[in-house]
Each structure stands twice: as C-alpha cells, then as structure tokens.
C-alpha cells in the first residue's frame, strides 16, 4: 500500500483531482434550491453569489465540492466560480465555527473601543483573527464598517447587530455562545447558526416565528432625531447602555505588527521580505 503525496502533506505541484460530488440526496435537495435561485434572474450567472451562500449553508464554508456544484448548475468552469468565490470576504474557505464573531475595527469603531474589544476577545478566546475556538463554536474575526456607526463600537455575530459593546459585554457574549446559552442581538433575530444564516443570504426567508419582528422597529440611536423633532427628548447626555467598570488599558505602544488590520494588507512579496527590507520599512541609520 502506498499513500498519496497529498495524504503525506507533500505537494508535488500536481493538479488536484476533481472534487468529490455531494451525496445524491444532498445534491437533489440543493438542485431544487439552486433552480429556485436561478429563476429569480433573467440570466443564470446572476445566481452565482446566492448559490455560493447556498453551498456555504450546506457545509459551513465554500468547498471545492460546492464550487463544482455551482459550476455544473450554471454551466461555468470551476475556475470562473473559484475566481468569484475568492473575491468576496463573506465566503469562508475553510471550516469555521457555528458563530462568527466579527468586531468592527474600521476607524470609528476602532477608536470608540473596537480595538480594545478585539484585543480582549483574542486574549480571552486564545485565538487570532480568522481562527476558531477548539470547541468549534466561535470564529473570531475583525470586520470592516458595518453601517452602524451610531451604535459604535459594534460587534456582529452571524451578521446580527450587537450594538454599543464593551470588552466585558463582548466577553460575556462569547462565553454564552460557547456554553450554549441563548444569545440575542440588540438588533436582529435570536441567533441561528452560521449555516442557517447563509441560507437566508441565499435568499430563502427566515421562517422562524418572530424572527422578523425581533428587537422592534428601530434601535435607540435611529430614533434620536425623530424624538427631538417631536419634542420628546431633552438634549441628550452621555448615556451608557451597559455599565461596566472603567478599563485600565495599558498605554499605547504601537508597532506595525500590532495593527489589527495588518493581515489585510497585501501579502508579503519577495520585494518585501522582512529579512531583507528594501522599501520604506527599512530602518537605515538605526
């Protein structure tokens, strides 16, 4: 008996074999869904983004099997599907947790405390950006502006809003998620798993009782101007939605490696080999 090179973890630069197909029953079910998606558009290729959400709802990430399925259904090559799947950040390319916890670290949320929250969660969970806890429950990542700046700092869990967070509230939230306790967002429906969320994104409405109504018409910040216009609110003071003890954060000693978004920059190239600095990161004269 011999083991293949891929089983030994050695790449010989050989092309991968075609992805295995879905089991027949899964394929039949997904084909029904895929046809419903294709029917929404004048041109079948428009179904590709929702179909990638659909295959993500099956396996929790976009697998080669899923991409092959999309290619087969839409008459595309796997290269065309892969090109699209790798362009968009919401498609995961490896197995991840049931709950995706995304901390906004774009400028406004970062300044308002998003950086501190992200740091706290990394430490508390013992995982870095894009990594999943050993129990498979939580995948932590930092996210870009999620259009909720008036609720900063914002954390998204499976793309439901957790507004006005603090390091403490975020830590409690992930503890609850890992312990299986029910967790409800400040805006959005009671959490479902990442796979179930992906199915909604594929365009299949959430049929859970009360999911659409959950958390009411609008968040408090959305109503501030309206209340003022109706003479209902006195000029506001600073109001903290959840009280926590002040933070004793250490003084800021920024280094390039500490930047939360550092992984977002283009990957190192030979020209930016840290061992042989050649660009503006070179420290001549030091």
């Amino acid at each position: 008996m011999t083991t293949s090179s891929s089983e030994r973890g050695v790449s010989l630069g050989m092309p991968e074999l075609p992805a295995p197909a879905y089991p027949d029953d899964v394929r039949a079910r997904l084909e029904t869904d895929a046809r419903a998606i294709v029917a929404r558009y004048p041109d079948s290729r428009s179904a590709l983004l929702p179909m990638l959400h659909l295959v993500q709802s099956e396996e929790g990430h976009v697998t080669r099997t899923g991409m092959q399925f999309c290619a087969d259904m839409l008459g595309l090559t796997t290269a065309e599907v892969t090109a699209v799947a790798t362009f968009y950040t919401m498609y995961r390319r490896r197995p991840s947790g049931d709950y995706q916890v995304g901390v906004c670290t774009n400028t406004l949320c970062a300044v308002m405390g998003g950086d501190a929250i992200f740091e706290e969660l990394q430490e508390h969970l013992g995982v870095g950006n894009g990594e999943t806890t050993a129990d498979g429950k939580v995948t932590l990542e930092h996210i870009e502006c999620n259009a909720a700046c008036d609720f900063a700092p914002v954390v998204m869990v499976n793309w439901e809003f957790f507004d006005n967070q603090t390091p403490e509230s975020a830590r409690r939230m992930v503890d609850d998620l890992r312990a299986g306790r029910p967790v409800a967002p400040t805006r959005g429906a009671p959490l479902c798993t990442f796979k179930e969320t992906a199915r909604i994104l594929a365009g299949f409405p959430d049929e859970r009782e009360g999911a659409v109504e959950a958390t009411g018409s609008a968040g408090p910040a959305s109503l501030i101007g309206l209340k003022l216009a109706k003479g209902e609110a006195a000029p506001a003071r600073v109001v903290h939605p959840r009280g926590e003890a002040p933070q004793d954060a250490p003084p800021h000693e920024p280094s390039p490696a500490e930047h939360l978004s550092s992984h977002d920059a283009p990957q190192d190239t030979s020209a930016s080999d840290p061992a042989h600095p050649a660009g503006p990161t070179a420290e001549e004269g030091e």
Binding site: L48, Y91, V111, A229, H240, E244, P246, A265
Partner: protein, 448 residues
C-alpha cells in the same frame, strides 16, 4: 452661503424634518399596514395617474439629487434611459452601504422598507422597467429579513407582480444579497457583481443608462434617493422644494456618530450645519471638543472645528473643499490620533481595492506601509511629502472613485494636521493614548 430663514431657529422641532423616519418609533413600522397608515403607496397612485414621462419630469423638477454620494439629479438619470429601444430596462437599487461612517440606508431599510419598494415601483413605471433588483450588502441579515418580508407583503397586496393596482404595470422585484466587498458600492462594479462576477468597475462610457445590467439600459440609484420619491409624488415637488436650497432641495438623513453625546439619525432639510445638529443634541461628549470630522464618510476630505457652520448641502460642503457624500458625520474629539484614524482608513482602502488598476492597488499598499511606520514612530520627515505624492498619483488617476476616496483622508489630514504627523516623527512615538478615546473612557460609575 445663506441659510433659509427657518433654519435660524435653534429648536429641533423647527430644524429637523422627519419624513422617511417619521414613524420609525411605531410598533411594527416595517409592515405594510403601518406604512399605509402613513400615506403609504399614495405617491404610487398619483404617479400611475400620470404618464411615465411626466413622472420623470416631475422628479426632475423636484430637484431630488442622489443620496449615495455623488449628488447626481435622480430625474435626469431616469431621463437618460432610451425609450422605445426594444431592450429590457432595469432598475438596480444600490443598498451596498459600506462607506466607512455611513449608516443611513441600513436603519431606513430596517424600519421602513416599504418606502423603498414604493419608490421602486414608481421609478420602474417611469423608466418602463419590469424587473428591479435591490443589491443589499450581505452583512446585514436583520435588514435582509425585513426586506424579504416587505417584498412578500407587497406581492400579496398586488403592489408588485402583474397589473399593479390595475394599471397594467408588471414588475418583478428581486432582493439580492452581496457577499462582502466595498467596491460593489461603485455602480458598475455592482452591476458586474449582480451578473455573478468579481465586483470590478467597468470602463465608462458606455454608462449604465445605455449598457448596464446584461448590457441593457439600467438606472442605478441609492436607497435613500429612491425612498424619497414617494413622498415627493404624494406631497408635491413644491413641498419638497420648500426645504433646503435652490440647488440642494429637500430633506435627507444625517448620521451623527463618534464622540458626540447623542449619535444617531437626524432627518433634516439640506443645509443644516454640524453646529446646529450638535447644539440640539447635546454636543460633543462632556468635557471634550471636536477635533476633526467627515461630512460624508471617510472618502470625503475631513473638516475641523473651523467648519462647524458649513451648510451641509452639495454646494456648501463643496465650496468648503469637501463633498456632502453620504452625510455620515463622524466626529472625533481631541483624544483621537489623526494619524491612527487615517492609517486605519487607508488599510481599509488597501484591503478593498479590487486590484484592477495600478494606481489604486499599488498606491494604497505603499500608503499603508508609510503610515504604519509614521504611526509607530519610525517615519521620516520626507515620508510626509511622499504620502502626498503617492496620494496625488492615485487621485484622479484611478479607474474608479475608490482611489479618489483613498486619497482624500491623506490630503486633508496633511492639510489640517501636518504638525501632528511631524510630532510622531520627531518624538518617535504616537503621543496619544487610545484608551482615552473609547466610549467608556470617561465612565466613572463602578459596577459589581
């Protein structure tokens, strides 16, 4: 710049004008029932009684301008659609709201999705389209749920589908969730994405009005622009023009965020000032002062406390050297390091650059390298001119507006805060404590 007389009053009741947000505080505001109680779909009835060309002319006469950033007259966009060309026409609503600081369309769609749907039906009647799309960014599932529910309600009530309200108008509406790419807010990248491709901008011309979705004539409008149309049809263009200024008429959503006492949505006539908004809402957080702010998201050149009285309309902000953009008023106080803020925005642009054109792809990368060094106290004085130079090589030389947006924070921060950059370089460290900027920095109460 002169202000309309009524704007001289300082009471919020006089200064604000909730239209789209008027009933967000009601129970189940997102439902058809509540929308109808607030004159919902009355604008559509009035539009259907007019000829399509008259609807286009009416919206044009109202002076409504695009609320997505560029401020292009909405009625004129509709007028560009060639009629009688035998091709399908499409309306695509840009609900990809991703510009840093921008947070108006998401609460609007969460609380009042029917205003958009009604606007879509009116617009499609005007441009003779029988299929419209809402391209919603994917990362907002609560909004997607309500859009799904609202579209279903509209179909069931005969407000979408065939022979709408007995007018003979047929319209399909598809809600399409994106998958996380800021560039898809650029209208031609959005169209490529909606066609199932990587979201990369297209060369223009041809403009979408001639060759848009599936190479057919297409109107791409922002959510708030389309959602404003029903009120204009129902209450009249004169009513709309009674607000704002001659060139920037009407009402709009201003989104106040950051170190202010009351972040949130403020719907007001165009031309209100940040000072008026802060005065009515409790100002900056206690004990702090405004340092810098953006009038319309991170892609619009930043302002300082010198600009508190700039009228927030297209002309006023333009004359002061920035752009009205999305009216995302991100306010930062004196605890905030401007180098840190600009570095983070620039990291965002580098991450979101689609890679199609060289100035943006390469330029944003090198801006990040320089800015990180400067923030870490490892920069050199010559880096500041280099920053300016690289930004100059991106601005106006990129394939789409993402590059121009990336250059804006660099130019404007160097213009107003060059000394702060220099301080990072001479002190060889960042002089700010990020803990002082957090929302809980000044919290004194202690909880168990």
């Amino acid at each position: 710049m002169t202000l309309a007389p009524e704007l001289k009053d300082t009471s919020p009741e006089k200064l604000l004008a909730p239209v789209l947000s008027a009933f967000w505080d009601e129970d189940k505001s997102w439902t058809l029932d509540v929308y109808k109680r607030h004159d919902g779909y009355e604008g559509l009835r009035k539009a259907l009684a007019m000829s399509p060309d008259d609807v286009i002319a009416y919206v044009k006469d109202s002076g409504l301008r695009g609320r997505g950033g560029a401020g292009f007259p909405t009625g004129m966009k509709w007028q560009f659609i060639p009629q009688g060309d035998g091709k399908p026409h499409y309306l695509v609503v840009n609900a990809d709201e991703s510009e840093p600081g921008t947070c108006k369309d998401i609460p609007l769609l969460f609380a009042n999705p029917h205003s958009l749907i009604e606007g879509i039906v009116i617009a499609c009647y005007a441009i003779r389209s029988s299929h419209a799309f809402i391209y919603l960014r994917g990362e907002v599932v609560p909004v997607l749920r309500r859009l799904h529910a609202a579209v279903r309600e509209a179909y069931e009530a005969g407000l979408l589908g065939t022979n709408i309200l007995g007018s003979g108008l047929d319209l399909e509406l598809t809600v399409h969730a994106g998958a996380g790419a800021y560039i898809c807010g650029e209208e031609t990248a959005l169209l490529d994405s909606l066609e199932g491709r990587r979201g990369q901008p297209r060369l223009r011309p041809p403009f979408p009005a001639v060759a848009g979705l599936y190479a057919c004539p297409t109107v791409v409008n922002n959510v708030e622009s389309i959602a404003s149309v029903p009120a204009i049809m129902n209450r009249g263009k004169e009513w709309f023009r009674s607000m704002g200024s001659e060139k920037s008429p009407g009402f709009t959503l201003y989104s106040l965020s950051g170190h202010v006492a009351s972040p949130g949505q403020y719907e007001a006539p165009l031309g209100i000032t940040l000072r008026q908004l802060l005065d009515m809402s409790g100002g900056m957080r206690p004990g702090h002062r405004l340092k810098f702010w953006t009038p319309g998201g991170s892609s619009t050149p930043m302002f300082t406390d010198e600009h508190l009285d700039v009228p927030l309309d297209y002309e006023g902000v333009g004359a002061a050297g920035s752009m009205l953009g999305t009216k995302a008023l991100q306010c930062f106080d004196e605890t905030t390091c401007v180098v840190r803020a600009v570095t983070r925005w620039t990291e965002f642009y580098a991450h979101e650059s689609c890679g199609k054109c060289t100035p943006c792809r390469e330029g944003t990368y090198w801006l990040v390298q320089l800015l990180r060094d400067i923030e870490a106290g490892k920069g050199r004085m010559s880096d500041l001119d280099k920053l300016n130079d690289i930004a100059d090589n991106i601005n106006g030389k990129s394939f789409c507006a993402l590059g121009d947006g990336a250059a804006s924070p660099i130019f404007s921060s160097l213009k107003y805060f060059r000394e702060e950059y220099e301080q990072h370089i001479t002190d060889r460290r960042c002089p700010f404590d990020p803990a002082a900027s957090t929302a809980w920095a000044d919290r004194t109460e202690v909880h168990a």
